[in-house]
């Protein structure tokens, strides 16, 4: 197992390097000359040349890339000139809040999605299946940012059950129950689409497994239907559900952008949207790179979990 994990870790390195190249290239898409933009009306040719030399922009792209990655590896993601603080500090602080939100959503979508998917497959074409299928369809067609607003209208404004925004109450908050109260609406909203996807794929995986020969063997042994479905079929279906959960991790990380904006959750997504509108590019670059790296690592975890569940994959 250790060897397998090491192998997967090694394989993740080129992926992360690739991510950094793409982010680097995207930043090179910026129209216009950065020195010109920075200097505004002071952009005399001499000043532009001086700035370009100072920022290393007179070097070739590969050189610039290597210098940039070197800095990243030393923890130097540059400085946000809007917030006037190191990019990495801001990103790490914000990312904590996003991890809580995305993590909670991932837990919700895994549990609810898998249970709904199994129920749906077991009662194929029955009422449970129809109801689940209907909600899945509604879930994956629903704009999460709109659903969030509707939830706020009902749960926070109409019924006053839950807070409408933020991560902690302004006065007297800050403990775990307070955090959980603030977490329910955004995490629930963020989980809706992912839950639909997980339920749909779990249903398909279960139906696929239930047709296999080894399920007939389990029945021929005289196992109860519950043992056949939960012990034999689900165990085999889980192997193909795990990578789906890995993909959903990326989905909730990305979807957090909308939800954090709607619920004023002080996370990375909210930071990114602000940074885009203020054109704080180093902050965008740092935020996207950190989130993408975490996503790669989560998928690596999913790979390892899958190999632990399926001995055939370890080879």
């Amino acid at each position: 197992m250790t060897a397998y994990i090491a192998k997967r870790l090694l394989a993740a390195i080129p992926v992360i390097l690739g991510l950094s190249i793409i982010v680097f290239l995207v930043m090179k898409l910026i129209p216009g000359d950065p020195a010109q933009a920075l200097l505004g009306s002071y952009a005399t040719p001499e000043n532009v040349a001086r700035i370009n030399r100072a920022l290393g922009l007179d070097r070739s792209w590969p050189e610039q890339y290597v210098i940039w990655v070197g800095n990243l590896l030393q923890g130097d993601f540059g400085r946000s000139y809007i917030l006037n603080r190191p990019v990495l500090d801001e990103v790490i602080e914000r990312f904590g809040a996003t991890l809580i939100l995305a993590g909670a959503s991932l837990v919700i979508c895994s549990i609810v999605g898998i249970l709904a998917g199994i129920a749906s497959a077991v009662h194929q074409f029955g009422w449970t299946d129809r109801i689940v299928t209907f909600f899945v369809l509604v879930g994956i067609s629903m704009p999460a940012f709109f659903l969030g607003l509707v939830f706020i209208l009902f749960f926070a404004v109409q019924w006053r059950l839950l807070p409408a925004s933020g991560m902690y109450a302004v006065y007297g908050g800050g403990d775990l129950p307070d955090l959980l109260r603030h977490l329910i609406l955004p995490a629930g909203t963020l989980a809706i689409v992912a839950t639909g996807v997980v339920a749909r794929l779990t249903r398909a995986a279960m139906l696929e497994v239930l047709r296999q020969d080894f399920i007939r063997t389990a029945r021929a042994k005289g196992l109860s239907e519950n043992a056949v479905i939960y012990r034999h079929a689900f165990r085999a279906a889980l192997v193909s559900v795990i990578p789906v959960l890995g993909i959903q991790a990326g989905f909730v990380l990305g979807g957090a952008v909308y939800i954090e904006t709607v619920f004023q959750w002080p996370g990375l997504g909210q930071m990114l949207v602000k940074a885009v509108s203020t054109r704080d590019l180093l902050l965008v670059q740092g935020g996207v790179l950190v989130a993408a790296t975490v996503y790669v690592l989560v998928n690596l975890l999913a790979d390892v979990a899958q190999a632990m569940l399926d001995p055939r994959l370890k080879a």
């Binding site: 991510l19 982010v23 129209p31 704009p143 021929a220 196992l223 239907e225």
Partner: protein, 594 residues
């Protein structure tokens, strides 16, 4: 766009598919809602509506159903209905354009990578993998950050992040097509690569591209609306549905209608497209129609017109009378086994022999209600185990007999053993299904059984997974599992077919020994008269779902009555016979030639 999928080439099939699509009420509803939205959006310039951009401060935030403003006005006094229809038009155009762009570039990458293979393939697909390694929307945000907010930039960003999806799908199909005969023929005729790619490969990939587009367009509309909602897409005064929602959000508490109306519109649009897309996919997937994707039930459906006697006095251990099983095919039942009867006594071995499709396996599975159902149905007859008709039992009583009094050994042990459980666990599970014993005791019993069936170093092999064992060892595990509860009857369905000849002989020997030692009744399903001659006391020959001949093995081998039996017997070659075998067999098959 999405509808074009329903118009498949042959006029006959189109009618058929169209009817199928309409029979799916949800898909039909999706089509009508989407069609309505599409028509209204296209007709926007012709409709008698106020200009969507004219502000009217005194009349701001009017509620729906106000005079002159059916859906009210927004924070600048603009007519919401008019803005909604124009916004829908923009959202549709942007979503469809993004889909088209992603499809164009994604398909191009997929086609080239799948056709060229080698280095080109690796480089292109690694690039695609990199794009996929980003959390979905974040890359789009980075691109918009670089290019600056705006509808067109949002469109490019969404298109780019969806390229991998198309590239991967199309590459997969292209790889499977590039080695087909017609592509080889085109290559040999001297056509260039580009020409082959666009005239031979592309037409065959096109349906996949269209289906992928129809399943992603709803998603793309959602995503572009999302970027506009965040203020990164459409910029004022242009408004799509997302930016309408984003701007109205500030007045959420005082004028919720201004947020809810565009939100519901996005939902209705995307939902209708998804309903339609799912319907189209279902129509085009032939497996869904046949019921082959239906989940098998724990006990086969039993629908007998006449109920036989529930019990039989003085019966041998297994009596099958007038058993018929069929497969549901639409409304009708296609028979697979017709009026089959046989008996099997203690310690006896009956062989059921026939070619594939003769109904022998369905017969074997019917005895314990194990025919995959739906669509399998037992339509008549009785199966007496110890004089009791098991088809009259309740489901849980029948399940209690499985593995206890009647055990199965199946054909290919690689697919019939659970791939993720160690073999001893699977045997122990069979023990525990019918006995109240501890896990440890069951495991101990599993080890004994493994030794009984001739697995050396059983303790060591116990933790192995099926894929780590040889075919012969796997089948021994299957037999050990069948023996777990000392059954009266073992039904072995082609137990040696997947094995090579030497292993086959040893497995048959094992079954013979067990039968003698334990007084087991053995029902052996096979297509090989050599096996029957070696093992069975009696034999029943099946053809087209019926038993055509039944009797002592020796008698039948000596003097087969039925032509079909004669042919089956002749098919067993003898060592050193050479061409003489073919000469001997040929005349027997002459009359069956068309």
């Amino acid at each position: 766009m999405t509808q074009s999928v329903t118009t498949s080439p042959s006029p006959n099939k189109r009618r058929n598919n169209w009817q199928l699509l309409m029979a799916n009420r949800l898909a039909a509803a999706g089509l009508f809602i989407f069609g309505f939205i599409l028509v209204v959006a296209i007709l926007a310039p012709l409709l008698p509506m106020p200009n969507p951009d004219i502000t009217d401060q005194p009349n701001r935030l009017l509620p729906p159903l106000s005079q002159g403003h059916l859906l009210g006005t927004d924070h600048l006094g603009r007519d919401i209905l008019s803005r909604l229809i124009w916004g829908t038009q923009i959202s549709l155009i942007v979503g469809v354009s993004a889909t088209a762009l992603a499809a164009l570039f994604g398909s191009l990458i997929g086609l080239v990578a799948g056709y060229a293979r080698g280095v080109t393939d690796s480089v292109l697909m690694r690039f695609v993998d990199m794009l996929m390694a980003f959390p979905y929307i974040l890359l789009a945000i980075a691109i918009v950050a670089a290019l600056g907010p705006g509808l067109l930039n949002a469109l490019y960003a969404i298109a780019l992040v969806n390229i991998p999806f198309f590239a991967r799908n199309i590459r997969g199909v292209t790889v499977s097509i590039r080695n087909r005969e017609f592509v080889d023929a085109a290559r040999l005729s001297g056509k260039g690569h580009a020409s082959i790619l666009f005239t031979e490969v592309l037409p065959n990939v096109l349906p996949v591209i269209v289906i992928t587009m129809s399943t992603t367009v709803g998603w793309m509309i959602l995503e572009t609306a999302g970027l506009s909602f965040l203020g990164l897409g459409a910029q004022p005064p242009t408004a799509d549905l997302g930016s309408m929602l984003g701007q109205a959000r500030a007045q959420l508490f005082t004028a919720p209608h201004a947020s809810i109306i565009p939100g519901v519109m996005i939902f209705a649009l995307v939902m209708s497209i998804n309903l339609l897309g799912d319907g189209i996919r279902d129509v085009l997937d032939p497996r869904l129609r046949s019921g082959a994707l239906d989940r098998p039930l724990s006990v086969t459906r039993i629908e007998r017109q006449t109920l036989p006697a529930v019990a039989l006095a003085d019966a041998p251990v297994l009596v099958v009378e007038h058993l018929s099983t069929g497969f549901a095919n639409g409304g009708a039942v296609t028979p697979a086994v017709r009026d089959v009867s046989f008996r099997l006594g203690k310690g006896e071995c009956l062989g059921i022999i026939g070619e594939s499709g003769s109904g022998k396996s369905v017969t074997a599975l019917s005895l314990m209600g194990l025919v995959a159902s739906p669509p399998g149905i037992i339509t008549s007859g009785a199966v007496y185990i110890g004089g009791q008709d098991v088809l009259s039992l309740r489901a849980h009583e029948l399940i209690a007999l499985r593995g206890a009094r009647v055990a199965y050994v199946f054909q290919d042990p690689l697919t019939t053993l659970h791939p993720l459980f160690p073999v001893a666990t699977q045997i122990a599970e069979a023990v525990m299904a019918h006995n109240q014993v501890s896990k440890r005791a069951a495991h101990q019993r599993a080890l004994e059984l493994m030794e009984t069936v001739g697995i050396r170093d059983a303790a060591e092999r116990a933790r192995a997974y099926p894929h780590e064992l040889s075919g012969g060892q796997r089948q021994r595990i299957g037999i050990a599992m069948a023996l777990a509860n000392d059954p009266d009857i073992i039904i072995a369905d082609e137990p040696t077919t997947a094995l090579d000849v030497t292993v086959q002989a040893r497995i048959l020997e094992l079954l013979q020994d067990l039968r003698r030692e334990r007084g087991l009744a053995l029902l052996l399903i096979t297509h090989d008269f050599g096996v029957v001659a070696q093992v069975c006391d009696r034999v029943a020959v099946m053809k087209n779902g019926e038993i055509v001949e039944q009797g002592d093995t020796a008698t039948i081998l000596r003097d087969p009555q039925h032509d079909y039996t004669r042919r089956l017997i002749a098919c067993v070659p003898e060592l050193g016979e050479g061409h003489a075998f073919l000469d001997r067999v040929r005349p027997l098959f002459e009359e069956t030639r068309p």
